[in-house]
């Protein structure tokens, strides 16, 4: 199984990686339990910054497509096939649209929503 990255593509490099790994899982080219290369190996082979690979792996792990097992390495998650079809970005957009619509219905202005959203994000960080 080979991964190909286009450095001139406007799609961010980490997104290309995520997309290709998910596609490989859906197509059955990567099966649950299959080992994935280390961040260092993939970064060196693709001549990319290891932070880019780490970001892609982190997001794939969040989506339960892959799982890190400490020193043993990174593996395809047992439920990867099912989890690949879940698009968290789409879900976030959907939830936000619903929430914003309910605020507007209650008469809250856009600037009040922005300020409240910004405050909520800052509070979460703290």
């Amino acid at each position: 199984m080979e991964i190909i990255i286009d450095i001139d593509d406007p799609t961010p490099l980490f997104s290309q990686l995520i997309e290709q790994i998910k596609n490989a899982v859906i197509a059955g080219k990567l099966n649950p339990g299959d080992a994935l290369p280390s961040i260092r190996q993939l970064a060196n082979d693709l001549e990319l910054n290891s932070k880019t690979i780490a970001k892609a792996y982190r997001l794939l792990e969040r989506d339960a497509v892959i799982q890190a097992k400490g020193y043993r390495g990174t593996f395809v998650h047992p439920d990867a096939q099912k989890n690949c079809t879940i698009d968290l970005n789409e879900w976030v957009n959907e939830q936000l649209n619903k929430t914003i619509a309910s605020f507007r219905d209650a008469g809250v202005t856009d600037s009040e929503i922005r300020i409240a959203f910004s405050n909520a994000m800052n509070n979460q960080k703290n």
Partner: protein, 287 residues
Amino acid sequence: MPESIIFYIVFISQIVLISLYYPYKVTNRMNEVINKYPPSIYPKLYPESLAKVEKDQKIYRLLNWGIALIGVILLVMVGLSPFEFQSGEKHAEGMPLFYGMLQFIPMILLEVSSSKQFKLMRKSNLSHTRSAALTPRKLFDYISPVTIVTAVVAYFGYIMFDLYINDFIWTSDIIVRTVSLTLCNILFIAIASRNLYGKKLDPFQDPKDRHKLIKFSVNSMAVVSIFASMFYIATIAIDWFELQHFEIVVNSLYFQILAIFGVGAILRSVKIEDINFDVYKNDAQSA
């Protein structure tokens, strides 16, 4: 004087093998590549002009001839001097070692030149796509556990043997020898690790060829490590059993073994006809 005869045979063999035979094979291989895969059809293989490649090749050949000549001069000097292999006379034992180090200089220069070529290849790679296998490279995919265990046993075997000979007292000599062998092994591990997990030197190289080269490099480092430990054991045993007249022979054989398992092994195991040169054509996609 059978020891002298053995020394002459072994030292002549060292000169011929390292400074004449292998350089001849290496330059022949370079010429074969240039003739079979010319720059007009395989431009990516030549980041520098052919004239520069030929110049480097000429320097490599001349250096080896020069070093071979030095070897002959040394041999004549030893032949003319009242040369006795007696215990405690250390005037000639180190000669094959220092000469062996000299003999490896052209190979090191060739290695430096290759890494420069690879750097230029990477610079000239204008492809906007990068590809990689989505499978991890693991040490034991390239080398058998038996070889690794043998290298580890040889290393600790040397330390135990040296301690045994010296009544298990850590003398300064043992510490120096152990530290130097450990540093050698750290270097071998670093080289093997760089080849295994490091950046791809040749951006166009076929993945199968890369696999073969990594396999060769890792195995070669392990074998050299085993022989380094054995060499240390042999030199201690020579002192212990008072066989000093064999020290010079062992020193010479050590360098010949290094050459056989280094240059010789790569010439034997990586055949030109098995390498995919199509990746160096202009229309080929980078790997």
